[in-house]
Amino acid sequence: MADPAPVLATIRVQSEDFDAAHEANLLAQGRKDVGALVTFTGLCRDEGGRLSALELEHYPGMAEAEIARIAEQACSRWPLTGLTVIHRFGKIAPGRNIVLVVAASSHRRAAFEAADFMMDFLKTRAPFWKKEHLLSGESQGWVEARDVDDEDAKRWT
């Protein structure tokens, strides 16, 4: 039996919404070696009714390239059978999708850790910035990076 082909991650940076279930199905369907599928969906919260929207600015080109570099690390670190990452940009209302990570593997720990790892590094290395828009109509300004995200990312070193 030939070695399995290296996993190519699917990476998309887009303003349109995504269908998490569809993306998860693509990694599982027609295969019998996938034992674990972990799907992370990050959604926009209204912060206790305060927010009307988040606006996500990104660095086109670098966003895709940086996510690809993080995904490559995940694929070399865990025995994945598939990996999909989608990050939206533009104005996103509370309750709507922001980011999707789907990790598929024969083994549950690999799928969990790879998805967790991807999210930690998307937060701290992918060039996206969030601006808050308030229900009152004002712009609240830019969301500040949180130290706890850096600490989460350090867990993997």
């Binding site: 660095y59 080109g61 922001i98 937060k123 701290t124 060039p127 910035w129 830019w142 995200d149």
Partner: protein, 83 residues
């Protein structure tokens, strides 16, 4: 050299991107920041908390002591808050 700005760095500098001719003495990211700060108040404001500013050379994260080398595109931005 093409220079791009994002998020509040962009707002403070006042432009998305610009192309600048740099003196030969500007050989690192840190030199470039000093050069910009000295050139106009807008940059001085944008780079006031200099340690907080992140930099990419040709779309790769680097530290402030990185040589500019043959870089075509420099980008300055605040810590990322995606995900």
């Amino acid at each position: 050299m093409k220079i791009r700005y994002f998020a509040w760095v962009r707002e403070k500098v006042g432009v998305d991107e610009e192309t600048l001719d740099l003196p030969e003495s500007v050989t690192t990211v840190a030199h470039l920041i000093s050069f910009l700060k000295a050139s106009d108040e807008r940059y001085a404001m944008a780079f006031e908390e200099q340690d907080a500013i992140r930099v990419a050379l040709d779309q790769m994260h680097v530290e402030h002591d990185e040589p500019l080398g043959v870089t075509q595109e420099v980008a300055f931005f605040p810590p990322m808050t995606g995900g």
